[in-house]
Structures are given as structure tokens and as C-alpha cells.
């Protein structure tokens, strides 16, 4: 395995330097440092690249992602250090992430994308549809990963964790007496104020059940009791000012104080709170946690599986995982990454043990087969 290490050495050392020297500082400082160390290594990088692939032509590796801040983080933590170390490889991005498109390409046997991170529920759907090719573990160093990264789903490397969290306006509830659970979210008398939720059945239904008193860790949480959830959702419907669909809308809503209480993707919430200093706060209690399903895989029919393996031997490691968290506030799946993060920062990560303890974990195995059905019912309920 030693001969593979050369592909990563430079990239890993760059990230380590940037992480160590800005430990405890904000995102901006990290981005700046990352740029500096990358620039400082430019000459070294091209030298190593030439040595490593003398005479080799540029090869393309195609990925797909959600675009926007997600792409920025992906490039900063994964792609750009990797490319610096492997100048013969040019990584291409397709955006936005569109699973339907990947499925269509798979069915037409014309897959354009080599490797990518898929959304949790799509990981299972893709697995089922035979869209992942077997990983060659002789090309990927397992000892650099947390065990959970390669045992969660065969032929994938778990890479990031997300939570959907409740976020409240601190100006409205400055004392300790603020909404702390989904039952409080539903309590419009005790906590009056406009609210927003995401237009997603798999989020609205579990939070309604928790608001109705179900224990987030209840082993009978799934199959979701849809009937009970809609009854509970009827109570809150008139108080939901917006059922949003886009990531940007959530941030716009707290940055303009459009609503006082809402569900948000934890990364978007942290971005607005840490970077744009909005006075809103995350409630980790009863967060909807993805678990560590979401990760990298190489697609069946990939045109460049060799370089895809090279990338996958890199992205799961502690350094890029920690760098990704610093850039976009989604939690690492590699628990070794926490050694490279300031403890206070680690507490803002969905995969932090304290946060996992109080969260509700999605059951994607149930959702992957039932999501379309509950979405149909949810949309009918919503537009009625």
C-alpha cells in the first residue's frame, strides 16, 4: 500500500497545516490559510505531479454535487488538494445534484459521473438498483478510516453527516425559556411567532410524531404512523408561514428575521450563525440525524474508475473530513477528524456524540421504500 501514499502526501500535509494553524479560528481564517498553503505548494505540487505521472495526459474525473456552498466546501477540502497532488487528473463537476438524472443515465447505460457523494436515501436506492461498482480495497487504505465508514453500506465510504435541526430567534426568546422540543414548536400559545418548515414528507412527519409525544428513540417509530402525523400537522399548518424547498430560503428567512422558529439544515444554520452573525440558535434536542449513511461511491459504468479509487482513498481520511467540516459545518463520518477540530467547534457537528445521543435517527431503509408514498400523501395534504 505504501506506493499509493505518494498520491496523498502533499494533499494531506497541506490540510493538516491549515487545520492546525487556524484551530479555534473561524471559517474565513481557515479558508485564507488553506489558500496560502496551497499557493506555497504550487511549485512543489507540479514537481511531484511530473515525477508521478511523467508523460501522462490529463485525465478527467467527473463528479456531481449540490453546487453553491456545498461545491465550495467540496472543492476546498477534497478536490483541490487532491488535484494539487495529482496534476494529471482534472476533476469536473456537474451541478446541481440530481438523482433522477443519475438513474436515467444508469438505465441508458451511459453514466457520465464517475464518483460522487449521494444523499442518504439515494445511497440505498442506488445500492438496490446496482448503481455502485465494487470497491477494490487493495487501492483504499482502510486503516486510515473509522470502521463505521466502510461497514455501514457495502462498497461505499461514509463521508458526512447532516442533521435537520430546530432553530429559534434569540431576540425573541433571549432567556433559557426558549423552544426546546418539537412539542414546543407546536405550542403557539407559549411560543407565539411565525414558523417555517421544509416541504419534505420525511421531515415533517417525524417531527409531528415527536410533537405528539413519541420518543425519538422509540424502536417502533418506523413504520411512520402517517395518519397520526397528519392529525398533528393539521394543528400547526395555519402557523407555518412558509414551506420552503431551497437551501438559500432558510438562510434568507433567518437573516431577514422572516420567521422566529424553523427547521433548518444544520450546515446552513451554522453558516448564518457563525459567518453572518445572526442571533438565532440551534436546538440539538430531537434533531433529525442522517446517521453516517451518506458517502462516496463509484458508479457502475464509470469511465475512470482508477482515478476514482485514488480520490476515494483520500476523501474519507481524517484531514479532508475535518477540513470539510470547517468549511460547511456538516459533521465528519471519520471520528478521527475530531482530533483535528477544536472541541467547541466539534459540538456544532451532527455526528458529535453529545448530539447523536439526543437526536432522532432517520430509518432510511424504511424511507427508501416508502418515501414516494408518504410524499404523495403529504403533497395532497399540503395543497388541499
Amino acid at each position: 500500500m505504501r506506493h499509493h501514499e505518494k498520491d496523498k502526501e502533499l494533499a494531506l500535509s497541506l490540510l493538516r497545516e491549515a487545520l492546525d494553524e487556524t484551530r479555534g479560528l473561524d471559517r474565513r481564517a481557515f479558508v485564507k490559510k488553506l489558500g496560502q498553503v496551497a499557493a506555497g505548494s504550487a511549485i512543489l505540487g507540479s514537481f511531484m505531479g511530473m515525477a508521478g505521472s511523467a508523460g501522462a495526459q490529463t485525465r478527467t474525473l467527473t463528479t456531481m454535487n449540490w453546487g453553491g456552498s456545498f461545491q465550495e466546501a467540496m472543492v476546498g477540502a477534497f478536490i483541490s488538494p487532491f488535484e494539487k497532488n495529482n496534476p494529471a487528473i482534472k476533476v469536473q463537476y456537474l451541478t446541481p445534484y440530481n438523482f433522477a438524472k443519475l438513474v436515467a443515465a444508469h438505465q441508458a447505460k451511459a453514466q457520465e459521473v464517475d464518483t460522487l457523494t449521494l444523499a442518504s436515501v439515494d445511497m440505498l436506492r442506488a445500492q438496490e438498483a446496482g448503481m455502485f461498482q465494487p470497491l477494490d480495497w487493495s487501492k483504499i487504505d482502510k486503516t486510515k478510516l473509522s470502521e463505521q465508514q466502510y461497514t455501514t453500506l457495502p462498497n461505499t465510504i461514509s463521508s458526512l453527516t447532516l442533521s435537520d435541526v430546530m432553530v429559534f430567534n434569540k431576540k425573541k426568546w433571549p432567556s433559557g425559556n426558549h423552544p426546546k422540543s418539537w412539542a414546543d414548536f407546536w405550542d403557539v400559545k407559549k411560543f407565539p411567532g411565525p414558523r417555517a418548515l421544509e416541504r419534505q414528507a420525511n421531515k415533517a412527519i417525524p417531527i409531528a410524531l415527536m410533537a405528539d409525544g413519541m420518543d425519538p428513540k422509540d424502536p417502533k417509530f418506523y413504520p411512520l404512523d402517517v395518519y397520526r402525523a397528519f392529525k398533528k400537522l393539521n394543528e400547526i399548518k395555519p402557523h407555518i408561514k412558509k414551506w420552503f424547498t431551497q437551501g438559500g430560503e432558510q438562510q434568507q428567512m433567518i437573516e431577514n428575521e422572516e420567521v422566529d422558529l424553523l427547521l433548518m439544515w444544520n450546515g446552513r444554520a451554522a453558516d448564518s450563525i457563525l459567518k453572518n452573525k445572526v442571533s438565532y440558535e440551534i436546538v440539538w434536542n430531537q434533531a433529525l440525524y442522517t446517521g453516517i449513511l451518506q458517502g462516496w461511491a463509484i458508479l457502475t459504468g464509470a469511465k475512470n474508475p482508477d482515478d476514482a479509487h485514488k480520490l476515494l482513498d483520500f476523501v474519507g481520511r481524517a484531514e479532508p473530513q475535518a477540513a470539510f467540516a470547517r468549511l460547511i459545518y456538516y459533521g465528519p463520518a471519520n471520528l478521527k477528524a475530531y482530533d483535528l477540530l477544536e472541541p467547541a467547534f466539534g459540538k456544532l457537528m451532527p455526528s458529535h456524540p453529545d448530539n447523536v445521543k439526543v437526536a432522532h435517527q432517520y430509518d432510511y431503509r424504511w424511507l427508501s421504500t416508502n418515501l414516494t408514498e408518504i410524499t404523495r400523501k403529504f403533497e395532497a395534504w399540503l395543497t388541499a
Partner: protein
Amino acid sequence: MTVPVADPAPARMSLNRALVPALLLGPTLLWIFFFFLWPLGLMVWQSFIVKDAFSLDHYASLFTTPIYARALWTTFEISIICTVGSLILGYPVAYYLVVGDARIRAVVMILVIIPYWLDYIVRSFSWLILFGRRGLVNRFLIDIGLITEPLQLLYNLGSVLVGMIQIMLPLMILTLFGAMLRINRQLVAAAEIHGASPWRAFWSVFFPLSLPGVYAAFLLVFIISLGFYITPALLGSPKETMISQIIMLVATELFDWPLASAAGVLLLAVTIAVVIAYNRAFSIERLWGGKEA
């Protein structure tokens, strides 16, 4: 290189007559065939197939599931109001662009065209900032003491319409302007010479002559409105869900492509039917250089 003298050879003339249009139109026609008609055909085909056999099941479920019929109805409703609104606001502006003071006209023209260049999403987002709870409009109304609590201006039919009309207005104005330019304004002058008041001359002469332009602009704006997606998604509530949002949902979240295709085909069929009926009633082809108005 020699300069060719005019060649009267008839054979060559006819060759040119066939070749030139083919060369001019060919690339576009090929493009339209491969990237529009062919996929469109596939989509229509897909919408009629259930488990490899011909079936109308997808269409049946479109009509029997309330959510689709409702979205289609909402789409027509919103599009009609949006088009009428754009017409009422756009007609006077277009008229001014034809008859008004030249210098002011240039400024107005720029004001009409600049928003036309801006992206739909940017224009939709800007309403979120203007109409928000802490937005400019609410803050102004509170400052002048008209209200004490902010009004809910966003996420309803009103905000969707404002957003859509703002986007469609330039198109409405420019289409009307183009049609009005072709009106012979000496006819208006003639009416006034014969004693008609300016108002009377406008209503009896200019306005009727502008109607073909009105019909054409109305249809154009209406059809584009039918396909709106991002504006109702950003500015509306679930009640203002339009058919494009539903098609997107069915295709990307329910993964039911045949059903999404059927919804697309249905929208297309209804749109074509509207165009045909509309053309029967108002014969808009006159405007595109058919029979003279």
C-alpha cells in the same frame, strides 16, 4: 480572385434557390429535431406506456388524483390574472413609448429593458427582501404610522402575482410597442382634424387598431406564465402550487417519469388547444405578417 459577374444561368439560380434556404435553416432544424422534437416524442410515447403496453393509466391518475387537477387549475387561474394585470399596466407604458416625448421615451425604454436582462431568480428573491416581515414596505408603513404590526405580504397569491407580473411586464410592453409602432398615426390625426377629441380619436381609431397587438401579447405572456416554476416556489404557499412544480416533484422526488411525462403532455395539449381556440377567435396570425390587419 476574380469578382464574378452576375450569372443569369437558370440552372444555377434554381440550385441556389434550394440550397440557400437549406443552408440557412438546416442547422436550426436539425437542432430542433434532435434536441426538441425527438425528446418530446419520447416523452409523449413514455406517457402512454405502462409495463411495456399501451395504456391511459397515467392520464387517468392525473385526472382522478385531486392534486394534479388542482395544480392545473391553479396554473390557469394565476396565468390569466398575471396576463390581465400585465396588460393593464403595460398598455399605457407601451402607448407612451409610441407617442410620448422622445427624451423621456428613451429613459422609459431603458427602465423597461433593464429588468428584462435580470435573472428570474434574482428578481423573485428581491421581492422577499422588499415584502418581508422586516422588509422595506412593512418598515415604511410602520414608520408613517399606518400600521403597527407588519403585514403578511409574502407567501400568498398576491406576492406570486406581483413577482410574475414584474417578470412578464417588459415582454408585454415590448410586444405591444412593436405592434403599436405599425399603426399609421396619421389616421389619429385625421380623426382629430374631423373634430374628434384626442380621447375619442384614441378610442375610435388607435385602440381598435392596436387590438391585434393586444391579442398577440396576451397570448405570448399567458403561455409563458403557464410554465412558471421558481417564482411561485419562492413567493407562494402550497396553495399556489403550479403545474411545473408538480411535474418537478413527480419526476425528481417520486421518480414517476411516465406520470411526469403525462403531466407535461397534458399541459402541452391544453396549451395548444388554447392557442387554436384563441386564434379562431382573434386571428392573431395577421400580426405575424399574414393577411394585413
